[in-house]
């Protein structure tokens, strides 16, 4: 009986410890700050400008090679 009580107390302590730990972790994660600048919604998220620049020469060759298509 005593053992049992002691065991359940340990369990309670562990549980509350876990709850506190997760509480701290959550507090650490959720940090929301309003941005200084207005939020811009860019619809072309899948187009990376550095890729466009890198492709410049390839694309010029492509156009030259396929005159019937461009």
């Amino acid at each position: 009986m005593v053992m049992n009580k002691d065991g359940s107390r340990k369990w309670l302590m562990a549980a509350s410890g876990a709850a506190i730990a997760s509480g701290i972790a959550l507090a650490g994660c959720v940090q929301i700050q309003a941005p200084d600048k207005p939020i811009e919604i860019n619809l072309n998220v899948n187009i990376r400008q550095e890729v466009i620049i890198r492709l410049e020469k390839d694309v010029r060759d492509l156009i030259e090679k396929h005159p019937g298509v461009f």
Binding site: I53, R54, L55, D58, V59, L62, I63, G68, V69
Partner: protein
């Protein structure tokens, strides 16, 4: 030189010239119907790297443009695979070039925002172009 041989030479020269102009037309390869529609502001380059219609096209023109766009897509897909980028990126990079070189004054083109306009002065490049 006999008059007969003169006539022969004239014919031969004409044939040669004709052949040369046909070869030129073939090497430029552009579909004359589509080219005419570009000049007429019916067909134009789009910011997405494909041709589109600023005005409702006749069925024949539509199928010609569709055929070109299918070829473009295949070409874009090839290069995208070679360079490890997306098809849209290759298409967009091509649009940047085409907007600079392929839209003549008075021709129609479609902006990044999807709006058709007619070139009057400089072409407005999409925002992602260098």
């Amino acid at each position: 030189m006999t008059p007969r041989s003169k006539i022969f030479i004239a014919f031969a020269a004409a044939a040669l010239l004709g052949g040369a102009s046909v070869a030129l037309a073939q090497s430029s390869g552009a579909d004359p119907v589509v080219e005419q529609a570009r000049a007429g502001g019916i067909v134009g380059e789009q910011a997405d790297g494909y041709l589109g219609f600023a005005k409702t096209p006749p069925a024949d023109l539509k199928s010609r443009v569709d055929a070109i766009n299918i070829k473009r897509r295949a070409i874009y897909t090839d290069l995208a695979a070679q360079r490890g980028v997306t098809v849209q990126e290759v298409a967009a990079a091509t649009a940047c070039q085409l907007f600079q070189t392929r839209v003549a004054p008075g021709e129609a083109y479609r902006s990044e925002a999807g709006i058709w306009g007619v070139r009057n002065g400089a072409v407005q490049k999409p925002s992602y172009c260098p």
